[in-house]
Symmetry: C2
Subunit: 250 residues, 2 copies
């Protein structure tokens, strides 16, 4: 048996999220079907963390076991030849048998992408959430700085009771990146609560629109309890951007 | 009566090209329906030049007549609210009654977009043609330089006999723009023959792949007759990028 790590990009538009569910097409199911077809075996794949319906993957990482040695280039080429073009496998690496795509994560980076202009160009309509009015970048940056560090992020979880243990997480960085109408929030953390990135994005948009003050964001954070003041931004702007593992850091 | 000039972007994937045809959805039809609904009248729109099925528009320009004065911001907002999100109207300007989107063109710019890497990222799959092998940029640039100037471009027309008069055109520039795996050919000219940009793109790709030499491109150009040596690149990589009009030049 050989264990492999595979980096995958996907357009989440057509999928009912990552995880296999009866009766719907999911990214996991499409990958298991395609890889199973190439390897001629039934298999399961395990990801760094599920993504919801409509969320995109730029650098999702999975692991799976194969019964033989695989050539990275040929394997990726073969999988991409049989899977739908809205999923692409990017890079295959051999890993130790106990390597785990979920448990060995050092940090994850998400991007929340916005089109902050009058009309979303057609080519971005599935990949950037539309926010048409003017946004106060300086205020968003101030609010973002308040969310960097180790905090109880329960205020930014869709359902804190669903979390199995602590709602404390560490955000290493939260950048507000502006390029004309294209606006990205890039957030890197040790791990994230359910809908945490979309809740942070919703909160920063509210700050940019003047609906929330920077001071109110601090109060919301410190309350460590979800309130109606924090809205969850739509799924289509969210990308799982990059996953870094312990073993890849020197 | 007031005449208006409107800039339009569209994702051509779902449309049977620009021009109204019976029984199929076209970009022209979608625009006439949406603008007609806003203005409550039946109208026709006239474009700078048709695009084929699958070709995209970044800066297509049209003109139409309205029976009243239109506010640019409100008009664009209203049209975008009723038309599909794969078409966006970008900018409305009032023009003289004899202004014509087709006949007043000074120059047009197209981009032919390629993904020159192992796998096309899912987010570009409808907007960049896949060319997986290595391409010789220097050779493509040399060949491109041979196609800048005033020439009989019949070798790069899909159907020279279809052209109503001369097949002489002037190409002002033809740039090979590389940004990693993203490769664009940007071509600006006085006007273009049918499928001329896709034929130039197909020819440059062949040069990049070593299937055609730079010298052969010169022979092909000078023959002024279509041959099997020139292939037509797929429609999905083609964008009508920008149209410049006589009256907008100082």
């Amino acid at each position: 048996m050989s264990r492999y790590r595979l980096t995958v990009a996907y357009d989440g538009t057509a999928y009912a999220g990552w995880q296999v569910q009866p009766g719907v097409e999911t990214v996991q199911l499409a990958l298991e079907r395609a890889i199973g077809k190439i390897l001629q075996l039934e298999l399961r794949v395990f990801c760094s963390g599920r993504t919801d319906a409509g969320v995109h993957g730029e650098g999702q990482v999975i692991h799976f076991n194969a019964d033989r040695e695989l050539d990275p280039f040929r394997f990726c080429h073969s999988v991409n030849a049989v899977i739908a073009p809205d999923i692409r496998v990017r890079d295959l690496q051999s890993v130790p048998d106990d390597w785990n795509a979920r448990f060995d994560v050092l940090n994850k980076t998400y991007r929340y992408r916005i089109w902050n202009g009058a009309a979303v160009p057609p080519f971005f309509r599935l990949y950037r959430t539309h926010v048409s009015g003017e946004l106060d970048d300086a205020a968003m940056r101030e609010a973002a700085a308040l969310l960097v560090g180790e905090y109880d992020f329960a205020s930014f979880s869709a359902n804190p009771n669903r979390e199995m243990d602590s709602t404390v997480r560490t955000v290493f960085k939260l950048d507000v990146i502006r390029d004309g109408a294209a606006l990205d929030f890039e957030v890197q953390g040790s791990g994230f609560l359910y809908k945490m990135v979309r809740s942070i994005a919703g909160c920063l948009i509210s700050v940019g629109q003047g609906k929330l003050t920077v001071e109110e964001v601090q109060v919301i954070r410190d309350a460590a309890e979800r309130s109606q003041a924090v809205s969850t931004a739509p799924s289509l702007g969210l990308f799982l951007w990059e996953v870094v593992y312990r073993d890849t850091i020197n």
